[in-house]
């Protein structure tokens, strides 16, 4: 909502400087976006006169002008077709900044002729689009006078953001009322206007909305004028409109636009000669269409509130009028409309058809229901004054809705809800200045003025008092300390996420956060892409589906980094994935990728490529941090189809509960996504990790012996396709009490090992409990291990 200071002062008697007005607007909830004053950017420009012109010796289209600013005469080379002797112009001199072309003027030599400044066009001064020639000022303009003073441009333009509840401030008068209540001057009296009609209009209006839809338009009042003269509106009105960025059209239209912005009251004018029969407000049938004033054709979907005549539809009520019934300079008979349209229905129609208009903006926020009749009179008077003509008596259909909204108000609520302790009388005074009528004794009965359609309850009244008094006096009060609680601030899942993040970061992966949505065709490669997770109105086709997995986003992030020449990329994300659109369909997942070399090129080590085991290691680290019983995990050599089928696996607790998957990413998926490999990745389903059983902090007593443990090595031959994990489990299980650890320290296939087999070198650690193992005991354990290995996986001890 824009207005100029001079416009504001037509409603507000004040001497307050603009800075104070801006400060107050912010303080009372009318947030100032910008304040601009043409005077600030055009201060140096002066009124000057072209004393003489002659053709430039070396350029056909240039003229060499002698220009006087009253004190000095200077030579300026000018290309404007209208530059000629005797005209008054706007002069910029070397050193002056010309905002429209972003240039600071300096002395120049143009085709060999010295030039000392510039005569400006409207566009160059950002005063309009006109660039056909330089500005020609009135012949009576005083040479040497500041252009700002001459043109009366020293008028700050304030742009404020009006929150959706403050329709009353979508007119300059409402803003003035708020400022007056805040002590910045006094609201000027508004005269009650009435126009006498000399005849009854031959055009009448009827509301044919039907009972179900009667609320769509409760009142339509209007008046006919004959013999008006429509043309450009007077300069003051044009200036008002252009000052806030509106384009003057014709006197009749400008009047309605002016009242819309001045008083927050939308109006409409119809060319009576273009109407067929009478005006009807009715509900649209599907398929009816019209050409609107914005040059767009609109076809009704059915149900819209439309304005029609006997011939058909020509506008959406409260939103936009029709081209066919619009006023032009030729209009002589005109019908003025001042109606009340329903907020919700206006919003629905406006949104459905994507129409943004000043009328819709106000109606959907709720205009003052009691002001319609007076709005009509004010507009009628302006029409008569500016366009002449004979007004009819007012006609109307429907009636002004009843308005008797009251709120019970306990003054103590300013303190108990608002935290501000002020006398009841102060609160009452503020309300009265805002136009509320206050009666009764605490609790008061507060009558809400008809322009404050937003005020509904006691909290709204408290807010009115607080915002006009100012929020600065509200004291800061600490929340009362609450009793100690044993639980943590974070819940179990949040703690899990936090620990996993820090574990993975310490393993060398960098945490990233990627979009929750992604390309649907990529989602399909990763088990997603279901219609239920497609975004109906995506911001781009790259982000049109909720992600089933974070891997595709991570892979693309890897590629972006590679494209920047980076290597050794290790990334992870802990966040949501989406299985379906239900509350339970969102899962907390930790996923990570490593790409390229396993480490940097370095003199101390040879470089190799990342492999599936790096991903497995990351997955286990994440699971361990999440509190999963990693010792009980089973490895299955099968994973989802976006992994390399031979180089991937899952980690499970029991055969069904998959806690994690890991592996090389499938070359097919990478190719489809245009991502280069190799990339290994993992996904840990944090939701599937069972909650820790531990109930308190106590870890129990630990019995440690100082007896020496013993290590024994075994080399087994097993079938090459036999998982080593099975062998390890067999060795461990040979004597659970004595065998504390089993590790694999060598793998060998090839010469010396039969075809189809491989050699696995295993080290077992025996940990004595009561006394050191004897040689016989060690031997017996070894025998047990060899037997168990043979029994479980057919392993043969290599001799």
């Amino acid at each position: 909502m824009k207005f100029s200071l001079s416009w504001l002062k037509t409603h507000l008697q004040t001497d307050a400087p603009i800075d104070e007005i801006v400060r107050t607007l912010n303080a009372i909830g009318l947030e100032v976006d910008t304040v601009e004053n043409a005077a600030d950017r055009l201060a140096p420009f002066t009124v000057a006169e072209v004393v003489s012109t002659e053709k430039h010796p070396d350029a056909d289209k240039l003229k060499v002008c002698q220009v006087s600013d009253g004190t000095n005469q200077m030579q300026i080379v000018c290309g404007a077709p209208n530059a000629r002797t005797g005209i008054k112009v706007v002069l910029g001199q070397p050193g002056d900044y010309v905002p429209g072309i972003d240039v600071t003027l300096k002395k120049a030599t143009i085709r060999g002729v010295e030039s000392n400044g510039m005569m400006c066009s409207y566009r160059e001064l950002e005063l309009g689009d006109d660039h056909d020639g330089i500005i020609e000022l009135d012949v009576n303009a005083v040479v040497g006078q500041s252009f700002i003073d001459h043109a009366g441009l020293d008028d700050p333009i304030v742009d404020i953001e009006i929150t959706p509840n403050r329709q009353d401030c979508l007119g300059v008068r409402g803003i003035a009322r708020d400022l007056a209540a805040a002590g910045l001057g006094s609201l000027k009296e508004a005269d009650t206007v009435s126009v006498d009609g000399s005849y009854a209009s031959d055009i009448s209006v009827s509301l044919k909305l039907g009972q179900d839809n009667a609320s769509a338009c409760t009142l339509f009042t209007g008046r006919k004028f004959t013999g008006v003269k429509n043309g450009p509106s007077p300069q003051w009105l044009q200036d008002r409109l252009t000052s806030i960025g509106l384009r003057p059209i014709s006197a009749l239209v400008d009047i309605t636009n002016f009242i819309t912005h001045d008083l927050g009251r939308p109006l409409h004018v119809y060319d009576a000669a273009k109407l067929t029969g009478n005006i009807h407000v009715r509900t649209a049938e599907k398929g009816e269409s019209f050409l609107a004033l914005d040059d767009n054709d609109y076809t009704c979907q059915g149900g819209e509130t439309v304005i029609a005549d006997d011939a058909g539809v020509f506008g959406f009520g409260g939103i936009i009028g029709g081209e066919a019934s619009g006023c032009s300079f030729e209009t002589t008979d005109v019908v003025l409309e001042c109606a009340l349209f329903d907020r919700v229905k206006t919003a629905v129609t406006g949104r459905k058809h994507g129409i943004i208009s000043d009328a819709r903006y106000r109606f959907e926020r709720g205009v003052d229901p009691l002001f319609a009749m007076q709005g009509l009179e004010i507009a009628s008077q302006m029409i008569v004054e500016l366009c002449g003509g004979e007004p009819s008596t007012a006609f109307s259909a429907g009636e002004t809705p009843a308005w008797n909204k009251t709120v019970s108000f306990r003054s103590e609520r300013v303190r108990t809800l608002g935290g501000l302790d002020i006398p009841a009388a102060d609160a009452v005074a503020i309300l009265e200045k805002l136009g509320f009528a206050v009666s009764g004794d605490d609790p008061y009965i507060v009558s809400v003025p008809s322009w404050r359609v937003d005020v509904e309850g006691e909290a709204d009244i408290v807010e009115e008092v607080l915002r006009i008094h100012g929020y600065d006096d509200i004291p800061s009060v600490p929340l009362p300390v609450i009793d100690h609680k044993a639980g943590t601030t974070l819940n179990a899942s949040q703690k899990k996420a936090r620990r996993v993040k820090r574990r993975l970061a310490s393993a060398g992966l960098h945490e990233v956060m990627t979009w929750s949505f992604m390309r649907r065709d990529f989602a399909e490669l990763f088990g997603g892409g279901d219609q239920s997770l497609v975004v109906d109105n995506p911001i781009s086709s790259e982000l049109d589906c909720m992600r089933p997995s974070m891997l595709p986003n991570l892979m693309q992030t890897v590629q972006r980094n590679k494209d920047r020449g980076l290597d050794g990329i290790a990334l992870f994300e802990v966040g949501p994935t989406y299985e379906n659109d239900s509350d339970k369909g969102q899962h907390l997942v930790a996923a990570g990728v490593r790409a390229g070399a396993s480490g940097p090129r370095h003199w101390s080590t040879s470089q190799s490529s990342v492999d599936v085991f790096a991903a497995k290691r990351d997955a286990i680290a994440a699971l361990e941090a999440a509190g999963a019983p990693t010792a009980n995990l089973q490895v299955f050599a099968e994973a989802a189809p976006w992994y390399h089928p031979g180089r991937s696996g899952t980690l499970r607790l029991g055969p069904k509960n998959i806690l994690a998957s890991f592996g090389e990413l499938h070359p097919g998926a990478m190719k489809a996504m245009d991502v280069g490999g190799p990339i290994v990745g993992f996904e840990v389903m944090l939701d599937a990790v069972p909650a820790a059983k531990r109930k308190n902090a106590n870890k129990g007593a630990l019995a440690l012996s100082n007896l020496q443990s013993v290590e024994r090595d075994f080399a087994f031959l097993i079938d090459a396709d036999r998982p080593v994990a099975d062998l390890i489990r067999a060795v461990k299980g040979a004597d659970k009490a004595a065998i504390a650890a089993v590790s694999v320290f060598d793998l060998y296939e090839g010469k010396g090992v039969p075809e189809g087999q491989r050699s696995i070198a295993v080290s077992a650690t025996f940990e004595p409990k009561r006394e050191t193992f004897s040689d016989q005991e060690i031997e017996a354990l070894s025998v047990k291990i060899i037997a168990a290995a043979e029994k479980a996986v057919g392993a043969i001890l290599r001799s």
Binding site: G29, P478, H510, L566
Partner: protein, 359 residues
């Protein structure tokens, strides 16, 4: 005899001193103290001596033997040291060679800031609550007093999912406020929660991304008022920005789910493109807040004549930008390793009030 001993001692001592290796010293030792050594030879002579002679010569010879053994040991130590030094001198490496760094990843600044916020509100007795990203219209709008066709809905730039089998469209939550609703519907007051999480709006420029992060705060009790809101926000912002004092400016505003509503500015200075919170003459809008609207309480089956409280919502990414100096929100979600190394945090930089929030 005495002269013989003295001359032998002088001879052996000289030979010990003349050795230049452990091996040569061993030769000297064998020649002197070995079975057939010169000293041993003299010792053997003791057996043929008279008791009187033995009385004198015994100690003399033993003294010789022990002196020579002592000299040999001393010489051995010297030679060993020299040998070690000589060996070590040959074992020099270039310690200026660069070593391999320990693997070091990083924590995203948003995670860090969320941890910081949780830490601060933990002290004030808040729990961390959560809700789903794919929300129902009820939780995201209706229960928050934003009925269908309310003009405020248009300001939300909402993403919708395709209608499901029942024709219902889920929304990508436009704010974390639906967690207020979920919390009030599932828990009796008193309530103190913060709710951090992902939020979505169809918007994109240097300070807006289609996905961003918010943290919601909600306090519901019987006598919580605006003064408590102000006090809580001051405590939070002081702790978060690690300054002694902050000055807040509450500006009346409008949110459908609060009444009264206000935007909160914090006093700051802008110098050289850096925002400094806690002093200066400028104001920075930092969050939106207000007293929970009675319609919202009613939607959550709470009696507005009994319960009241405040709510606030704040951009986590924005807080991170203000505190740590990033100037483009889009980079938060781009995963550029260089950005992550610069703005990320070490795994062990867990924010605590005891140790400081930002290292």
């Amino acid at each position: 005899m005495q002269e013989q001993i003295a001359s032998l001692k002088a001879d052996i001592t000289a030979r010990i001193a003349g050795t230049d290796s452990i091996a040569a010293l061993e030769d000297v030792r064998v020649a002197a103290l070995g079975k057939k050594g010169s000293v041993s030879g003299l010792m053997k002579g003791l057996g043929g001596m008279s008791p009187e002679e033995r009385q004198v010569m015994g100690p003399a010879l033993n003294g010789l033997k022990s002196d020579i053994a002592g000299d040999i040991a001393a010489r051995k130590s010297v030679l060993e040291t020299a040998e070690l030094e000589a060996r070590l001198a040959g074992e020099r490496v270039d310690v200026s060679l660069p070593v391999l760094d320990h693997a070091a990843g990083s924590i995203h600044p948003n995670s860090q800031v969320m941890d910081e916020i949780a830490e601060i509100f933990a002290v004030l007795g808040f729990d961390v609550a959560e809700g789903p990203d794919l929300e129902s219209d009820f939780h995201n709008f209706t229960a928050l007093n934003i009925p269908e066709e309310h003009p405020a809905r248009q300001d939300h730039d909402t993403f919708y999912l395709s209608p499901n089998a029942e024709g219902v469209r889920k929304v990508l939550r436009t704010h974390t406020s639906p967690v207020q609703i979920r919390t009030m519907l599932s828990k009796e007051p008193p309530i103190r929660i913060i709710a951090p999480g992902r939020t979505y709006r169809s918007d994109s420029d240097a300070t807006h991304t289609p996905m961003f992060h918010q943290v919601e705060g909600l306090v519901i009790d019987k006598d919580t008022h605006l003064g408590h809101l102000k006090g809580t926000l001051e405590a939070f912002l002081k702790a978060f920005f690690e300054v002694d004092a902050v000055t807040l400016r509450l500006r009346p505003s409008y949110f459908p789910f609060t009444e009264p509503s206000m935007e909160v500015d914090v006093q700051c200075s802008f110098a050289d493109g850096n925002v400094k919170i806690g002093d200066g003459n400028d104001w920075l809008e930092i969050l939106g807040s207000g007293m929970v609207h009675s319609n919202v309480l009613k939607a959550c089956n709470l009696d507005p004549d009994v319960y009241q409280g405040f709510a606030f919502g704040c951009g986590i990414d924005r807080l991170a930008m203000l505190k740590y100096g990033m100037n483009d929100l889009r980079a938060f979600f781009d995963g550029d390793l260089r950005w992550l190394r610069h703005y990320g945090f070490r795994a062990l930089d867990l924010p605590t009030l005891a140790g400081g929030l930002s290292r």
